[in-house]
């Protein structure tokens, strides 16, 4: 179908704006959620003072970070010191553009719930996350501070190592669905609700476990948050950063969490499809319901994933560095390769 170029441009700009605003809001409220949940896990309240139930806390935090003095330490290498948080944040925000949030509903030939639907969507997400390492690596190097440098070296080594396990774990899903296109991967899981999700239906629970673990390491979260282990490295790679530049790293971390959650939802948990399959009629709420119900399922699944993240943070202690590397290379990697082997054998026997 021929799409009018100007409508396409206008709708695309609109989509980008809306998704960016929603993503940044989601980032702010994920921080609040984390503080609340970790607070409850540790038997305290978490933020309660600003607004009802502390709901305006992200706003207060934002204003505080924005109005703080932007320190420029004397010893830093300026161009890279400034570029590093920008790289980190822009890579974190870019990868969300491949994510489909809802069913394939077209308005004037433009997909409403996805910024760009391309054949190699999954690979692009992997590529952008792998470029995101530079933000961390350069911040540590340009800060001219040994804690920052150690944190950055740890972070980049960790991210490169776990990227391998992450990429290999995804291959099982790709083998089952035979496509890199995220919409096709989800469509294949849509048939019978929860039983045809890749975690269960495609027998990819091993892959899901590997993906989960590698994703914690990729986003530098507990129990793999060694790059910012405060007891050894003060704050790791962002020790020298303050005000908005610190806020950019902070937002990048949470935006990465959300992206990883979205990808996990799409690959393993059936994306925007309902867990009940076709038990309920699809035209429950008319046209609007048909458009918004998938988005609801998607958001609910991502929320569960984020909750799991926070839960793990409140529960598990930090790994030692050699344990972390050993776990990645000696356990997750072979496991991922075994999973690929098993999946392809299973597929081959089914095809034969």
């Amino acid at each position: 179908m021929e799409v009018n170029f100007w409508i396409f441009l206008l709708l695309s700009v609109l989509k980008v704006a809306v998704v960016t605003v929603i993503l940044l809001t989601a980032v702010a409220y994920t921080v609040l959620l984390e503080r609340k949940v970790v607070g409850r896990i540790q038997n305290r309240w978490g933020p309660t003072r600003v607004g009802p139930f502390g709901l305006l806390q992200p706003l207060a935090d934002g204003i505080k970070l924005f109005l703080k003095e932007d320190l420029m330490p004397t010893g830093v290498y300026k161009p890279l010191y400034i570029a590093a948080p920008v790289i980190a944040l822009s890579c974190a925000l870019l990868s969300i553009s491949m994510i489909p949030f809802g069913a394939n509903i077209k308005y004037h030939g433009v997909d409403l719930f996805q910024i760009s639907d391309i054949n190699i969507g999954l690979l692009v997400i992997l590529g952008i996350t792998s470029v995101g390492v530079y933000g961390v690596a350069l911040s540590g190097w340009s800060s001219n501070n040994k804690y920052s440098l150690l944190g950055a070296l740890r972070a980049s080594a960790q991210v490169i190592s776990y990227e391998l396990a992450l990429g290999l774990s995804v291959i099982g899903v790709i083998l089952v669905s035979q496509s890199f296109r995220l919409r096709e991967i989800v469509d294949l899981q849509a048939r019978h609700g929860i039983v045809s999700w890749n975690v269960f239906g495609g027998f990819q629970f091993v892959a899901f476990f590997i993906y989960l673990t590698a994703a914690f390491a990729e986003t530098n979260r507990t129990p793999f948050d060694l790059p910012e282990a405060e007891s050894e490295l003060t704050a790791g790679y962002h020790t020298e950063y303050s005000s908005m530049k610190f806020a950019m790293f902070f937002m990048a971390e949470y935006a990465n969490m959300i992206t990883v959650g979205c990808v996990a939802t799409l690959l393993f948990l059936g994306g925007w499809t309902s867990p009940f399959g076709h038990l309920f009629p699809a035209d429950l709420g008319g046209v609007v319901g048909e458009a918004l119900l998938p988005v609801f399922w998607f958001v609910a699944k991502v929320f569960c994933f984020l909750f799991l993240y926070i839960w793990v943070r409140g529960t598990l202690p930090r790994f030692r560095y050699d344990q972390l590397m050993g776990f990645g290379w000696k356990f997750l990697m072979p496991l991922a390769i075994a999973n690929i082997l098993a999946t392809s054998l299973w597929l081959a026997f089914h095809a034969a």
Partner: protein
């Protein structure tokens, strides 16, 4: 549209490469090389090589160059100084490279009649097209490269290990 994208990303490539040439500090050179590689990925997309574009970003910008920056950070390499050898290299290198470029450009331009033009979406190689050739016709070379990588891993570990 294609021409605009080509000019933007081709220009980025050339600017990055020139920056690589004139920067004294290796980390700046590494970053400009990343810019070159990422814009090359976009050019691959324009030429319909989608899998290669993704592989370019993942392998080159995401893995090889991270390794380079990692080593630069690890060895704390400072900016290079001018030496005796560098003067001779300037005197020979720049005219030599210019002459090489002139020769190549002459050949390409004189044969440009017989070359076609590239149109967006004209010829797209999907991942399955690529893998069909790779895993059917070229299976042996593919397997041999995996052995090569294994040898390279072992070699790198053996070389970089500190002797006790």
């Amino acid at each position: 549209m294609h021409l605009v994208l080509f000019i933007i990303f081709g220009g980025l490539c050339v600017a990055g490469a020139l920056n690589l040439l004139f920067q004294r500090h290796p980390i700046n050179a590494a970053l400009s090389l990343i810019v070159v590689m990422s814009s090359l990925a976009v050019l691959y997309l324009l030429l319909g090589a989608e899998f290669l574009a993704a592989a370019q970003v993942i392998v080159y910008s995401g893995a090889i160059m991270v390794l380079f920056t990692f080593v630069i950070m690890l060895l704390n390499a400072g900016s290079e100084e001018r030496t005796h050898g560098s003067k001779a290299a300037y005197a020979i290198g720049i005219p030599g490279a210019a002459a090489l470029f002139a020769a190549l450009a002459y050949i390409f331009l004189s044969n440009s009649k017989s070359l076609s033009t590239a149109k967006l979406g004209d010829y797209i190689v999907t991942t399955s097209d690529l893998s069909r050739v790779l895993f059917r016709d070229l299976l042996l070379p593919f397997e041999v490269t995996s052995v090569l990588i294994l040898v390279a891993i072992l070699g790198a570990v053996a070389l970089a290990r500190r002797e006790h």
